[in-house]
C-alpha cells in the first residue's frame, strides 16, 4: 500500500474552501504541540492568539483597524498573483504611500478638511503606484524578476522613511525623536463610531472587496488578468497585451498598498516614525493566498490574520511569549495553505498491491 497523487479532471471546489480552513486549524494544532514541547501552555497560547480577540468585544475595534490595511493590500496583491506577477514589495509601497500622504499634509500646513484629506489619500495611492512602477518597467522592458526588485525596494523605502523622519520632516517639538509631528485633527480621517478607533479606512476595506469582486469576475479587465496568468499565449491570441497587463497588475497592487499606507497614517497612527512599517505588506501576502486570491476570501482572511496580530499582543501578557510568536503562526499558515494547494488539483489515493508486486511473475 502506498499513497498516490492523482490529477483531478477538474479542480475541486470543495477543496478550494476546505483547505484554507484546514490550514488555520492545522496551524492552531501544530502551534499548540510546539509550545507545549517548549514548556509553555500551548492550549492557552492558541486560545489567546486565535479566539480571545474574537470573544472579547473590546478587542473588536483593534481587529477591525488591523484588518483594514491587510485586506486592502491583499486585494491588490491578489490581482497581481492572478496574473502570475509576484509583488513581494507591498511593504515598501505601503511606506511610500504613507510618506506621500504625510508630504501633502505637511505642505498643506494648517489647512485641513475633507479636500485636503482626499488629496493626501490620492497622493498615497500615486506614491504606491510609482514605487510599484519601477519593478513593472524593469520586468517588462528588461526581463528583471519582479520578486527581487520589489523586495529590494522595500529596504530602499525604509531608508527614505528613516531619512525623512530623522531629517527634513522631524517634529521640532519631538524631543529629537525621529518622527513626524502628530497630524492635526483637521487632516485626520473621520472616525466612524465616536469614542472608538474605527476610522473611515475600515469602511473602505469593507467595500473594496466587493468592487474588486465585480472587477475580477465580471469585467473584461479581470478576464484579461486571469487569462494572462493562466495562459499567456492564449492571452496574446485572444488579443490582450501581456506586457501591459503585467504593468497594470503591478500598478494596481502598488496603488492598494499606497492607499493602505495613507489610510493607516491619516486614520490610525497620525504620525510616522521608525516603527511605522509593521509588516502589513508582507502579512498581506499570506492574506492573499489564504483568501484564495478571491476578493471576498481576502476580506475573511484579512480578519483572521488581524486576529493573530491582536491575539499575539494578548498572549504576550497572558502566557508571556514574545510578540514575534504571532509571526510564527502567520508563517505556518502560509506554509500549510501553499502545501495543501495541491489537493485542489490532485486527489490522494491509496494504491493497492497490484503495482507494488514489481518484477514478480504473475
Amino acid at each position: 500500500m502506498r499513497l498516490k497523487l492523482e490529477k483531478r479532471p477538474e479542480p475541486s471546489t470543495l477543496m478550494l474552501f476546505v483547505t484554507p480552513v484546514a490550514s488555520v486549524l492545522l496551524t492552531m494544532f501544530i502551534g499548540m504541540v510546539v509550545f507545549d514541547l517548549l514548556g509553555i501552555n500551548g492550549f492557552r497560547a492558541v486560545i489567546d492568539i486565535f479566539l480571545t480577540p474574537l470573544l472579547a468585544s473590546y478587542k473588536w475595534q483593534d481587529v477591525a483597524v488591523k484588518a483594514a490595511p491587510l485586506i486592502i493590500i491583499a486585494l491588490g496583491l491578489s490581482v497581481g498573483n492572478r496574473a502570475q506577477v509576484w509583488n513581494i514589495g507591498a511593504e515598501g509601497q505601503y511606506i511610500i504611500g504613507a510618506l506621500c500622504a504625510a508630504g501633502v499634509g505637511i505642505a498643506a500646513g494648517t489647512a485641513g478638511g475633507p479636500l485636503v484629506v482626499l488629496v493626501m489619500i490620492v497622493a498615497g495611492i500615486i506614491g504606491g503606484m510609482a514605487w510599484a512602477w519601477i519593478p513593472a518597467v524593469l520586468r517588462t522592458r528588461y526581463d528583471v524578476n519582479e520578486i527581487l526588485t520589489s523586495l529590494m525596494l522595500v529596504y530602499v523605502a525604509f531608508q527614505v522613511l528613516a531619512y525623512l523622519v530623522g531629517g527634513p520632516w522631524k517634529d521640532p517639538n519631538g524631543r529629537n525623536f525621529p518622527a513626524t509631528a502628530p497630524l492635526q485633527p483637521s487632516q485626520e480621517l473621520p472616525i466612524l463610531f465616536p469614542g472608538s478607533t474605527v476610522h473611515l479606512g475600515v469602511l473602505i476595506a469593507l467595500i473594496l472587496p466587493f468592487v474588486f469582486w465585480l472587477l475580477m469576475s465580471r469585467s473584461v479587465f479581470g478576464f484579461q488578468i486571469r487569462v494572462v496568468g493562466s495562459a499567456p499565449q492564449a492571452a496574446r491570441y485572444g488579443g490582450f497585451d501581456t506586457k501591459r497587463t503585467i504593468i497594470l497588475a503591478l500598478l494596481i497592487s502598488g496603488a492598494m498598498a499606497g492607499l493602505a499606507g495613507a489610510l493607516e497614517f491619516t486614520g490610525a497612527l497620525g504620525t510616522i516614525n521608525l516603527g511605522f512599517p509593521s509588516n502589513y505588506g508582507f502579512t498581506a501576502i499570506i492574506v492573499s493566498f489564504l483568501g484564495r486570491l478571491n476578493p471576498i476570501g481576502c476580506l475573511i482572511a484579512g480578519i483572521v490574520l488581524a486576529v493573530t496580530y491582536v491575539g499575539g499582543q494578548v498572549a504576550q501578557t497572558t502566557v508571556h511569549i514574545p510578540n514575534a510568536t504571532a509571526g510564527i503562526f502567520q508563517a505556518m499558515m502560509l506554509f500549510f495553505i501553499l502545501a495543501s494547494d495541491i489537493l485542489v488539483r490532485y486527489r490522494v489515493r491509496l494504491v493497492g498491491s497490484a503495482s507494488s508486486a514489481q518484477g514478480v511473475k504473475a
Partner: protein
C-alpha cells in the same frame, strides 16, 4: 506469419482511470516477424495499451505473455531488457547535443563512445538509415530526428518494435524510406506494432490489424484485403461521411492578400518567414503543406497578429491593410485564426467553455457592455457551439481542460466558424482528432468557404489537404512555394518541395549535408 508461439500475447487486459475504462478486456497477439497495426480513434485506448506493453503503466487485470511466458513489465527498462523497443510520436532529444550524445544518454548500459559510434554506424549501414552521428540535433530535419529514435531502439536488438504514429511528421519520400527499414526488420524476425490513423499506410505495410473503439477490441482484420473506408468505418463504428461540396464553384474577390511577408523569428530554434506571398479568394480553401518546423507556427502568428509585421501592406483583409494591427483589431476586420496548440494557446484549459468563448468572440458578438462581460451571452454562445458541433461536454460550464482533444478542437473550430469570419486561418485543424470529428470539421470548413469566406489550412497531413483544398502551396525553411491547383498537383512534386528541393541554395545545402555522410546508401 504467427507461428506456434506468438511473440507477444495479451489476454483480458483491463485498465481503468478515474471515470474512464481505458482498456476493457483486450486480447490480441503478435507473431514473430509480423507487422501488426493497432487502429482506433483518439481516446480508443491505443496509447494506454501500448504504454502497458512498454511498462510505463501496469494493467489492472489481464496477462501479458512474452514468447509464451507470462510476464510483468515493471518499467520501460524491464521492457527493453525483454527486447521491446518503442519509438514515440514526440521525440525526447536535446537540440543542442549531437546525435551520438543523445543516443548515449538514452542507453541503459554505459558503452565507450567510440564503441557506440561504431555500433551506430553498423546499425545504420545495415538498415540503410542515413544519419551523421556527430551532427547537432537542432540542424536535423524531423525525419532525421526520428531516425535517431529508431537507431536508439535498434541498438538494443529488439524483438518487438512499437511505433506510435511514426509518419505524421514525415514527407511521402521519408515514409517510403521508413517502410523499407520496417519491412527489413520484420523479415529478420522482429515483430512490429504499428500505431497510425493513416489507413492507406496500414494497407501498404501491415498484415494484421487490431481495431479498438472505446477501450474495447471491436474487430481484427487483414488490412491488405480491406479498403481504407471499410477500416475507417470499423474504427468509428458507423458510416463515414464524405465531404459534401458543390462542384465547379467559382471563386469571388480576393479576401486575404499576403505580399512580401517577412518575419524574423525570436526563437533560437524557430524559422524566419521569408518573403511570403499568397492570395485567397472568397470561397477558396488554400492549403499550406510542409514538414513541421518549417515556419508554419511563425506564419500563423504573423497572420493572427500575435506577432505584428513591420509593414501594414504585408497582410490585407478585404483590401484593408492589417499588417501592423494587433490580434484584437485583426479579428475586428474579419480575420479569425486557430493555432495548432489547443491547450494554452487556442484555449485556456482551466477556464470554462463559456470563458473560452469570451476569449475570441467577445468583441465580434457583443459580449461586452460597458467593460463588463455579459456572462449570459457568453454561455448562450458556448451552448450554441456545443450544440452545432456536437461537442461532448457537460455544458458551457465545463472546463476546457476536461474535454478530450478532439472535442476541444471541435469547440475551438466551432467558436471561430460560428463567428462567420471573412477569412479563417487554421493550423492542424484535425491534429489528434478522430475520424468522425475530423469529417465534421472538414465539412464545416467547406460550408464556411461556400458561404463566401476565404480559408487557409496549414497542415502536415497531406491527405487532409488534398481532400479539402482547392489550391495548395508548400512551406519549407520559411519560403512558400508558388501555389498549385490541387486537381493538377502531383504528390511526388509536393513531396520534393516538402523536402526542400526547390532552389539553388537549398539544393546545395542538401548536397553538402550528403557529403558528410559516410555510410553508403542501402
Amino acid at each position: 506469419m504467427s507461428s506456434s508461439v506468438p511473440r507477444l500475447a495479451l489476454t483480458g487486459i483491463t485498465k481503468r482511470f478515474p471515470g474512464v475504462l481505458a482498456n476493457d478486456q483486450v486480447s490480441f497477439s503478435v507473431g514473430p516477424g509480423e507487422i501488426h497495426a493497432l487502429l482506433g480513434e483518439n481516446g480508443a485506448g491505443k496509447s494506454t495499451l501500448v504504454k502497458m506493453i512498454y511498462g510505463i503503466m501496469q494493467p489492472d487485470a489481464g496477462t501479458i505473455r512474452w514468447n509464451g511466458e507470462p510476464v510483468t513489465i515493471a518499467n520501460p527498462k524491464a521492457a527493453r531488457k525483454l527486447g521491446i523497443g518503442m519509438v514515440f510520436q514526440h521525440f525526447s532529444l536535446f537540440e543542442a547535443m549531437t546525435v551520438l550524445e543523445n543516443i548515449a544518454l538514452g542507453m541503459d548500459a554505459t558503452i565507450p563512445q567510440r564503441e557506440l559510434e561504431a555500433k551506430i554506424r553498423e546499425v545504420m549501414q545495415h538498415y540503410g538509415l542515413k544519419l551523421e552521428p556527430r551532427r547537432i540535433v537542432s540542424t536535423l530535419s524531423v525525419g532525421e530526428r526520428q531516425r535517431i529514435e529508431i537507431v536508439r531502439a535498434l541498438l538494443l536488438n529488439p524483438n518487438l518494435l512499437i511505433m506510435d504514429e511514426p509518419t505524421s511528421v514525415l514527407t511521402p519520400q521519408e515514409v517510403d524510406q521508413l517502410f523499407v527499414v520496417l519491412r527489413k526488420l520484420a523479415a529478420e524476425g522482429c515483430s512490429i506494432l504499428y500505431i497510425s490513423h493513416k489507413l492507406h499506410e496500414i494497407k501498404a505495410l501491415c498484415e494484421n490489424a487490431t481495431i479498438l473503439r472505446g477501450g474495447k477490441l471491436v474487430d481484427t482484420c487483414d488490412p491488405r484485403v480491406e479498403t481504407s473506408r471499410s477500416m475507417a468505418e470499423k474504427m468509428i463504428g458507423g458510416n463515414l461521411k464524405d465531404i459534401q461540396r458543390q462542384p465547379g464553384a467559382e471563386f469571388g474577390k480576393p479576401r486575404l492578400e499576403v505580399s512580401g511577408l517577412s518575419v524574423a523569428t525570436t526563437d533560437h530554434f524557430g524559422t524566419s518567414l521569408k518573403d511570403i506571398s499568397l492570395t485567397v479568394r472568397a470561397g477558396e480553401i488554400f492549403g499550406i503543406a510542409g514538414v513541421a518546423g518549417n515556419g508554419q507556427n511563425e506564419l500563423l502568428l504573423a497572420l493572427s497578429g500575435e506577432v505584428p509585421t513591420d509593414s501594414a501592406d504585408a497582410v490585407r483583409v478585404d483590401g484593408v491593410k492589417v499588417g501592423r494591427m494587433a490580434a484584437r483589431d485583426r479579428r475586428g476586420s474579419g480575420l479569425a485564426t486557430v493555432p495548432e496548440e489547443r491547450n494554452g494557446h487556442a484555449a485556456v484549459p482551466d477556464f470554462t467553455l463559456s470563458d473560452n468563448a469570451v476569449l475570441t468572440a467577445r468583441d465580434r458578438l457583443g459580449m461586452v457592455k460597458g467593460g463588463l462581460i455579459d456572462a449570459r451571452a457568453a454561455r448562450t454562445y458556448a451552448g450554441e457551439v456545443i450544440a452545432s458541433f456536437a461537442v461532448k461536454a457537460t455544458g458551457p460550464g465545463a472546463f476546457a481542460g476536461s474535454l478530450s482533444g478532439g472535442n476541444l478542437q471541435k469547440f475551438i473550430m466551432g467558436r471561430e466558424i460560428l463567428q462567420k469570419p471573412t477569412v479563417l486561418v487554421v493550423s492542424q485543424p484535425t491534429w489528434g482528432v478522430d475520424a468522425g470529428a475530423a469529417a465534421a470539421i472538414h465539412q464545416a470548413l467547406v460550408d464556411l468557404a461556400a458561404s463566401g469566406s476565404a480559408i487557409v489550412v496549414i497542415s502536415q497531413d497531406l491527405d487532409e489537404l488534398l481532400a479539402l483544398c482547392d489550391t495548395l502551396a508548400v512551406i519549407n525553411g520559411g519560403h512558400l512555394s508558388p501555389p498549385m491547383k490541387v486537381a493538377e498537383a502531383n504528390i511526388e512534386d509536393i513531396g520534393l518541395l516538402m523536402g526542400g528541393i526547390h532552389g539553388q541554395t537549398t539544393a546545395a545545402e542538401v548536397a553538402a549535408a550528403e557529403g558528410h555522410i559516410h555510410a553508403p546508401q542501402a
